[in-house]
Symmetry: C2
Subunit: 269 residues, 2 copies
C-alpha cells in the first residue's frame, strides 16, 4: 500500500509547492510510482509540472454526470460520490513515474465552506485508500492555511512534512502548526506522524539563516531532516518552465539537495 504525505504550513512562501513537486519527481526517478495531488486553489504544483488547472464542471459535462442538475459548486463533491472517485481525474505527466491530480476551480469554493462535512470526509478517505493501491507514494500540496483544505489532506495522510524557510516568521509559525497537529493526533488521527521539518531556502552566508538552522536543530533534533535545501534560483526558474528541477538543471545545488531528500524520505541511508 502506498504512503501518503501532506506538505503543509500556514506560513506562505516557505517552499511547500517546490518540495511537493521535486520530491514527487525525485521519488519517480528512484523507481517508485508517485502521485502529486494539488489541493491548492493557486494550482502552483499543477503548473510546476507543466499541467493546467481545470474545472470539475467541464470534466463532468464530458461524462454527462448527474451533477449538472445540482449546480456547479458541487461538482467536486459529486465526483466523490461516484464509484470511480478521483481516478478519472488523474493525468500521466511527461516525467518518469510521475502522475498528477491537478488543482481545480471548485477548490476555492471548498475554502468558503470551511472544513468539509463529515459525509464527504469519509468519501474522501475511501477514495484515497483506492489511490494508495495504485501508487507507491502520494504527495499532497496545500494552500498556506490551517483551515478546511489542509484538514482534509491531513485526515487521510500517514504523515505531514513541514517546510521551514530559514527566516524568522517561518520559525515563529511552527508554534501555530505544531499544536494543530497535536490536536489532530489527540482526536481524530492518533496515527498521524510528523514526517519531518524541512529547512528550506538556506543561504549559508546569512547570519539569520544560520541562527534559524541552529534553533530548529536544537529544539527539534528528532524531527528535522538532515537534508537542508539551499536557496538556489534554479528551483525558482524550473517552476517557470513547468519542469521539476531534475529535468531543468540536474546538476544544480537545488537538484542535488532534493535528490538527497528523496533518499532520506525513501529510507536509503
Amino acid at each position: 500500500l502506498g504512503r501518503c504525505i501532506t506538505v503543509a504550513s500556514q506560513k506562505g512562501g516557505v517552499g511547500k509547492t517546490t518540495t511537493a513537486v521535486n520530491l514527487a519527481a525525485g521519488i519517480g526517478l528512484a523507481g517508485s510510482k508517485a502521485l502529486l495531488l494539488d489541493l491548492d486553489p493557486q494550482a502552483n504544483a499543477t503548473s510546476g509540472v507543466g499541467e493546467s488547472k481545470y474545472t470539475f464542471a467541464s470534466q463532468a459535462q464530458r461524462s454527462h454526470s448527474r451533477y449538472l442538475e445540482r449546480g456547479k459548486n458541487s461538482a467536486f463533491l459529486e465526483a466523490l460520490e461516484m464509484e470511480a472517485g478521483l481516478l478519472p481525474f488523474i493525468l500521466e505527466t511527461e516525467f518518469e513515474n510521475l502522475w498528477a491530480f491537478p488543482s481545480f476551480q471548485e477548490l476555492s469554493d471548498l475554502q468558503l465552506i470551511g472544513s468539509l462535512q463529515s459525509k464527504y470526509i469519509n468519501k474522501w478517505k475511501f477514495h484515497l485508500e483506492v489511490l494508495r493501491k495504485h501508487f507507491d507514494f502520494i504527495l499532497m500540496d496545500c494552500p498556506p492555511s490551517l483551515g478546511g483544505i489542509p484538514t482534509l489532506a491531513l485526515s487521510s495522510s500517514d504523515a505531514v512534512m513541514i517546510p521551514v524557510q530559514c527566516e524568522y516568521y517561518a520559525m515563529e509559525g511552527l508554534s501555530q502548526i505544531l499544536p494543530v497537529i497535536e490536536d489532530l493526533q489527540a482526536t481524530s488521527r492518533p496515527d498521524l506522524k510528523i514526517a519531518g521539518l524541512l529547512l528550506t531556502m538556506y543561504a549559508s552566508e546569512l547570519e539569520l539563516a544560520n541562527e534559524v538552522v541552529g534553533e530548529i536543530q536544537k529544539y527539534f533534533p528528532r524531527l528535522v531532516y538532515r537534508t537542508i535545501i539551499p536557496r538556489d534560483v534554479a528551483l525558482a526558474e524550473s517552476a517557470s518552465h513547468g519542469l521539476p528541477i531534475f529535468y531543468y538543471q540536474p546538476l544544480s545545488r537545488g537538484a542535488w539537495s532534493y535528490l538527497e531528500l528523496t533518499r532520506e524520505v525513501l529510507g536509503h541511508e
Copy 2:
C-alpha cells in the same frame, strides 16, 4: 478622514507583512498618524512591531463583558457589537506616530466560518469609519488567501496594494487576485481602487527577477509602483527584532526603498 489600504495576495511569502509594517512605520515617520491593523492569524505584523497576539476572550474578561455567556468564539463579534468597537484594542507602539491593532486568537475561528455574515460586515464597516477619524492612514495586513478575512478587509478599504514577489508563481498569482477585485468592484465595492502592484524581493543579478519586472511593467504600466523593493536580508532580520526597518538599519537598501515607497504612496513626487 484617514485613508485605508489593504495589503493582500493569496500567494504566500510575497512581502505583505513586511510591506504593511514598514510602510506604516514610514508614514508615521513622515508625520501622519498611522494604524497597522493585523488581520492575519499568523500575527506576523504584530510581532514585526514588537507586540504580541492576544485573545479577545481575556480582554473581554477584564471588562466583564456579556460575551462570557455566549462562549469564547464570539468574543470578536461581541466586540463589534459594542459601542466602543475596535478602539479599546488599539495599542500605541514605541515607534513614532505608529499604533497597532494586534492580531487575535479568535481570527482563526473566523476563517473557519468563511466570509462573515452581513450583520457583522456592516458593524465592521461602521467601526472602521470611526477609526478613520482617529488616524490619517490605516494599513491592513491579511493572511495569504482570497477568503473570509481578506474579503472583510477589502469591504472597508479605499484601495488594495498587491505585493508581487519577482518570481514566477507570484506573477501567475495575479491572474487569480485581479478577477476577484474586479468582481468586488462590479458588485459591492464600485469605489474600491487598486493602490498599486508592488514588486518585491528584487535581486537585480537574477535573470528571472528581471524577466518578472519586465512583464509586470509591460502589462500593468499604470498599476505598478515606480518603487521596487530589493531583496535585502536587513528586512528579514528587522522582523526577528520586532523593529520596522527604519529603527533597525536605517541606512540599508531595504529602508531606503520603503522610504521611497512611503513618499510615492503619500503622493510626494
